[in-house]
Structure formats: C-alpha cells, structure tokens
Symmetry: C2
Subunit: 108 residues, 2 copies
DNA sequence: GGCATGTGTAAGTCTGAACTTACATGCTTC
DNA sequence: GAAGCATGTAAGTTCAGACTTACACATGCC
C-alpha cells in the first residue's frame, strides 16, 4: 500500500461529519435523503462526503429502484479494517520511494 | 475513546508531510533542524506538523542539551497502534452521544 | 565581534476543502 | 399540471490549515 492510498483512507476518515456518516450507515444500509435527514446535514454536502468515502472504499453506493418507482441511492459500509501504527506508515512511505525508483516496472 | 480524540489522531496522521515525518522518526530519534534537512522542509512548517503530531500523541518531544551546549529538541515516536474499522468508529461516535446525555456524571 | 548552528514565534499569503443556495431532472399521486 | 420526494450538479462563499518569510534569542568557535 502506497502512502497515497493510505492517505485517501486516512484523510477520508479524519473528519467529524464523515465519522458520523460511517457510524450511521454501520447501522444498516440507507439512501441518501434519509441519511441526510438523520444527520441533519444538507444533501449536497452529504453527497460530497459520501463521494469521498466511496473513493476511499469505506462505503459502497448503489442506485436502486424502489417499489413505487423512485430512484434511491443506497449506501452501505465497505469492508475495511486498517491498522494505524509505525509499521504501516513506514511501509507505505517506503512503498512510495520504491515506486519512484521503479521507473520502468523493474522490481528490486 | 470519543470521536474527538479519535479525530485528533486521524486528522494528524491524514497528511502526506506528517506521514513522512513519522516514517523518518521511526528510524530513530532526531532533532528538529536535522529532521527538517532530511525532509527538505522549512523548519517552521515542520514545527507546525510536529506540534500537531505531538498533540495526537504520535510523537514525543524533549528538549535536551548537546555536549557542546546547543539546545536540541529531539522527537521520537510515541507508542500508538490504532485500529480503524466500523467497530472503532461506531464506538467513538457512540461515546460522544453518551457524553452529551451524561450531563452530571451519571452513567447509563 | 562575527559567523555558524540551534530553538521558538509572529505575521502574512494562499490554496483547497467544507458548506450553502439554487436549479435541472425524473417519477409518482392527487 | 401541480405537489411531493428522490437524485445529481453547478456556482458561489467562507474558513481553516498549510506554507513562507522574517525576526528574536542563545551558544560555541574562529
């Protein structure tokens, strides 16, 4: 895992609103508008956060059609279990250095 | 652990420069100016990052006197091993809610 | 004294993320 | 066709954090 990949996750999870989003979704999948009401957050804002979380692989969204024909975008938690310690971080940063010297796909 | 405490750590670690700082210090304790040279980062900037990391408990600083009388501020890694998963996050957010209702120190 | 090396901080800029308001679209139901 | 509820996005503002330059101060050495 490169530090870039690690950062995407850490930066995504390092925000109060997004922690709340994750905690809420952890209780079960939910569509965006419903989630916005629960968290008392504007929908566009929630949208932004969800995008960020999704890019980090922390949540997964899927657009579905409800029985009464409404399009609902459901989100649920993606599987993640990250360990944050010196070892993880050193490995990630080292992976960057490796990638930089690894210009043409040759491995060390 | 409240989400606030969790956020201090996650936000601290969720930054490229600070990951580099941690990775560098992981190789052994080092004083600020030396660290700044290694990372090719201005000292005041590094200072800011170190403060942030220290507040999060990720690094520990100690001002020491070198043999030739110079004051050197050494930093080393603090012990940390954080698990980032749904469980951790839910627990942290729940801790907040508990604290809010827990106005007078009574526990649920 | 002057220069090197170190710590510590103040003040300012600048950029990107967070957040708001607003509007487009689509589908039902009355 | 108007109202209600949903998704999706565009445009603007606001603000905190990142970053720079600059300075004050101390010590050791030539």
């Amino acid at each position: 895992m490169t530090s870039e990949e690690l950062l995407v996750v850490l930066a995504a999870v390092g925000h109060a609103q997004r922690l709340r989003v994750i905690a809420e979704i952890a209780g079960g999948r939910m569509y965006v508008s419903e989630l916005a009401r629960r968290l008392k957050m504007s929908r566009p804002l929630l949208y932004m956060h969800l995008e960020r979380l999704e890019k980090a692989g922390l949540v997964v969204g899927s657009l579905e059609l409800s029985e009464d024909g409404k399009a609902l975008k459901y989100f649920e938690l993606g599987p993640f279990d990250l360990r944050v310690n010196a070892e993880t971080i050193v490995a990630a940063v080292a992976a960057d250095a490796a990638r930089h010297s690894d210009v043409k796909g040759n491995r060390t």
